[in-house]
């Protein structure tokens, strides 16, 4: 796979942009950039906008879906039969993995099923399914990782893979557990109506309703493309400390893209939503909101203009502007960069890096959020991590390797795209907590500046902290009021400096439920983000008339 084989291709640029390949892009193992927040997109040449507001928190109810297991010496894992294995194979594989020493070994069995239905030119006439089954085996020796995976789950193949991973170490075999116990999990997903029981014909009305609604809404709408996806992933994790963890991870996403034509000019835009939820996710209100947002974000582009360039105040709208937080700041707080001494935040723990009202959180426990996880991909329970507290940088996001390196506890951020990859520190749902200001107060404070509502392309350098982002929708701020809509503007800055300079944070936190995935080291994971309205007193805006 060329891009994975050439991971440094474009590696220095921690780019995110709205990729335009099929929804199944996410399901497949193709990566374009190292650090890439991908708004997985179905339709060529379109850019995905981020949602204006989120409703998933209201819908998620945190009902339990996972099985609970009693702690004890006898493993009662439910998924042994799914993978065609038993505890004996687990024992043997762990023993093989530690046959040359090693501090730690783990097995990550995964069976996932992805389904997509797509509408184009008025008909739902294409469907896509992917099934993936395999096990990834990891051996750690200090900071070193041996990793192998196989899609053949017969005993011999698993043992061979374990021996391959074991090659990272070079010492005597280590003692391994003689029995395994299952670890109970809290449930942060919100699936009430499992997708496995939903027939395609039950999903079709969602797509047709949006398509019909779009064409009825405005005669300028020329093309509508829609994709509805659902995924279920069954995980069985076992480690060299004798633990077994099972998790069933649901996911769904809906993506709508519109092309409109007016007086010979074409504009395109769209909207997406996603959550770890079942069929109940698609309430009439949510479907209506998706339709409304996709249309309004497209049509407003006919009235939008590109404002003059220059240094000016920039106000980030609540919600989807959190992408700036994720890309320009959050990645620098992932501990692998600090461990390698290449993050601009590497020596900043305990130091003041922002105003006292700035609090940044990375949270894996929000019910139903796309970024939530009951357990991370190395067996650490899902949790909430304060990154910045009252302006002070408090913690990196750790996996087991970095946690051991820094002598702290893992934070539950060890994540991977699937069994083909070793886990690394990744964000979950990253957001800024509400601040002391009011949204209206922030807008009123700006004499001339821009208000950024959603972003598309951009790129970030983790070490230098420099970024550029492309504003798809926004407004001009003139004399304390939102005036004309704007588009095709770049904001340019340095992430840590922007965070340091944030001087107003509103009390209107919006958690975004867009269908975004973050790319790093060639692997994608689903994430979410959020932001209250934020003011940056000065930022470079690239527009017209430079």
């Amino acid at each position: 796979m060329p891009l994975r084989e050439a991971p440094f291709f474009q590696a220095a640029y921690f780019s995110f942009h709205l990729l335009v390949f099929g929804s199944a892009y996410y399901a497949w193992r193709v990566k374009e950039f190292f650090y890439l927040l991908v708004f997985v997109k179905l339709f060529p040449s379109a850019r995905i906008p981020l949602p204006f507001q989120s409703t998933w928190l209201q819908l998620a109810n945190g009902e339990r879906m996972n099985h609970d297991f009693e702690n004890g010496a006898n493993c009662q894992a439910n998924y042994f039969s799914r993978f065609g294995i038993d505890e004996r194979i687990i024992r043997e594989a762990i023993a093989a993995a530690l046959s040359q020493g090693g501090d730690w070994a783990d097995l990550y069995f995964q069976h996932s099923k992805n389904n997509y239905l797509a509408l184009e030119d008025g008909e739902v006439n294409r469907a896509y399914c992917q099934t993936a089954l395999g096990v990834g085996i990891r051996v750690l020796q200090g900071n070193q990782t041996g990793y192998a995976y196989t899609e053949d789950l017969r005993r011999g193949s698993i043992i061979n893979a374990a021996k391959t991973a074991a090659a990272i170490a070079n010492g005597p075999a280590r003692a391994t557990p003689t029995s395994y116990r299952t670890t109970p999990l809290a449930n942060h997903y919100s699936m009430r109506v499992p997708w496995e029981g939903i027939e395609p014909k039950e999903k079709l009305p969602i797509l047709y309703q949006i398509n019909t609604g779009a064409f009825q809404a405005d005669p300028r709408i020329e093309k509508v493309s829609i994709a509805l996806g659902d995924q279920i992933s069954f995980i069985l994790f076992a480690d060299s400390e004798g633990r077994i963890v099972e998790d069933t991870q649901p996911m769904t996403d809906l993506r709508v893209s519109c092309v409109a034509q007016h007086q010979g000019r074409r504009e395109s835009n769209g909207y997406s939503c996603s959550g770890r939820a079942g069929f109940e996710f698609y309430t009439p209100q949510r479907i209506e909101n998706v339709l409304k947002q996709a249309i309004s974000r497209t049509l407003i582009l006919f009235d939008s203009f590109t404002p003059p360039a220059g240094e000016m105040p920039v106000v980030l709208a609540a919600g989807s502007s959190g992408i700036l937080l994720h890309e320009a700041i959050g990645h620098g707080m992932e501990a692998d960069f600090a461990r390698k001494n290449i993050s601009i935040y590497a020596d900043k723990v305990g130091k003041t890096i922002a105003k006292p009202f700035v609090n940044v959180v990375d949270d894996g426990t929000l019910p139903g959020s796309r970024g939530s996880i009951n357990v991370d991909d190395e067996g650490v329970l899902g949790q909430k991590t304060m990154l910045v507290e009252n302006g002070v940088f408090t913690s990196f996001l750790h996996d087991r390797i970095s946690a051991k390196h820094f002598g702290v506890a893992p934070t539950g951020n060890g994540r991977r795209e699937n069994y083909a990859f070793a886990p690394i520190p990744r964000m979950r749902t990253t957001y800024l907590l509400p601040g002391p200001h009011a949204h209206e107060e922030i807008i009123a404070s700006v004499k001339k500046g821009i208000y950024c509502e959603n972003f598309t392309n951009g790129q970030v350098q983790i070490g230098a902290g420099d970024f550029t982002f492309y504003v798809k929708n926004g407004h001009l701020i003139e004399n304390g009021k939102l005036t004309r809509p704007i588009k095709d503007v770049n904001v340019i800055g340095n992430g840590p400096k922007v965070l340091e300079n944030v001087d107003m944070v509103a009390d209107n936190l919006v958690l975004d439920d867009f269908a975004g995935s973050c790319g790093k080291d060639g692997q994608m994971v689903p994430v979410s983000l959020g932001l209250p309205t934020v003011r940056v007193p000065s930022m470079t805006v690239g527009g017209k008339q430079a």
């Binding site: 474009q10 199944a24 099934t131 089954l133 395999g134 990793y147 395609p200 360039a309 430079a546």
Partner: protein
């Protein structure tokens, strides 16, 4: 699973799909072995190795269409999988534009040995990989100004794969390929507190044709060091010179709108621009899938059509779109070879194509990352 097994599995899947009710079936199977070694700051960082196999199908059932893929190749799972895929297709609306390509388009494959596989692949040892990775770091740390280097990460990666493609209307194709990659990235300390980084990499179908590893390490370090003191420039309208490293990114925005899918979905700035001048007379771009040893070279495309050289831009004039069967029918345009990858069908086969700058005589491999969903 051997290559012969994978080919037989593809044929069986075609038969099974037809037996279960599909009128036409396209099947791809793929087996890949991949190895990588990462080295960082004097130590081995990561070993990664895997051998994988997978199968994908496109099913045309009573005028309807579905595409599916799986890595669960257990026989009992496969039969159920195909049954479900056919059932899924039947729940959809008919699509009169769906069918396998005309078998005539399969004909005319170039009579050329593309030399995509290094027969000595298995001779590359784990020790060799480690030594090469280490040597790249040593070269990086030997450049002038290396005291500013904070970290150097290098990687040696390689893969060997076989891909089998069988269509129910007569196409059968096999591709065997290898690839070898060297990469290095360096991070440096800028006195202003920032930690800029840069990289270099190289890839080849043949191990012996990789450049000297020290060149990669040295180049990565020198590039990173050149970033020290970089400052944001003033906003201005000025001439811009584009380094070849940015070529792929730039061209992605130029090539994407050339697809028939973009045209049909009204998302192309090139709609109606065929044979018109859209750029500088210096702009000549050819898509050449037949360059020996190149990463984007194949004898047939994702739909089985025979690969042919294609002029995209000639002296600034748009000469061709990329037209696949499905959107070609919708647009009433003749389909031809195109390097875009079909969803599912080629998910394990990221093709690229060679874009030849006629004026500079320099080509680069453009890894096409966009996915066509049809």
């Amino acid at each position: 699973m051997t290559g012969e097994n994978m080919l037989e599995m593809a044929k069986q899947a075609v038969r099974l799909g037809q037996k279960k009710g599909a009128q036409e079936v396209a099947v791809n199977t793929r087996r890949t072995r991949e190895v990588s070694v990462s080295w960082r700051d004097g130590n081995l960082e990561k070993l990664h190795e895997a051998t994988t196999a997978a199968l994908s199908l496109q099913l045309y059932v009573d005028g309807r269409y579905s595409a599916v893929s799986t890595s669960d190749l257990r026989p009992e799972a496969l039969e159920k999988f195909i049954e479900n895929a056919i059932s899924l297709a039947r729940s959809l609306a008919p699509d009169p534009y769906r069918s396998l390509p005309d078998p005539q388009t399969y004909k005319g494959q170039a009579d050329i040995d593309l030399q995509l596989e290094d027969a000595s692949y298995d001779s590359l040892s784990a020790v060799q990989r480690r030594k090469i990775a280490q040597s790249m770091e040593e070269a990086a740390r030997a450049v002038d100004g290396a005291q500013a280097i904070l970290s150097v990460t290098t990687q040696v990666a390689d893969s060997q794969s076989q891909h089998f493609k069988v269509h129910s209307n007569g196409f059968e194709g096999t591709t065997r390929e290898t690839s070898f990659w060297l990469a290095a990235e360096a991070s440096v300390q800028d006195p202003d507190g920032r930690r800029p980084e840069d990289y270099d990499f190289a890839g080849s179908r043949f191990f012996k044709q990789l450049p000297d590893s020290s060149t990669i390490g040295r180049q990565a370090a020198q590039r990173a060091l050149q970033r020290i003191g970089a400052q944001k420039g003033s906003s201005a309208v000025v001439p811009v010179a584009i380094d070849y490293r940015a070529g792929g990114r730039i061209f992605s925005y130029l090539i994407g709108p050339l697809s028939a899918a973009s045209l049909q979905q009204k998302r192309s700035m090139f709609e109606g621009k065929l044979e018109t001048t859209i750029g500088s007379p210096l702009l000549s771009v050819h898509d050449d899938p037949l360059i020996p040893k190149a990463f984007g070279s194949y004898l047939f495309d994702g739909e089985g059509m025979a690969a042919k050289r294609l002029a995209i831009f000639e002296s600034g004039v748009l000469k061709n779109y990329y037209v696949d069967c499905y959107y070609g029918k919708k647009l009433k345009m003749t389909p031809h070879y195109w390097p875009f990858i079909e969803f599912n069908l080629e998910a394990w086969l990221p093709k690229s194509f060679q874009t030849l700058f006629a004026n500079e005589r320099r080509y680069f491999n453009y890894w096409f990352s966009w996915r066509k969903l049809q």
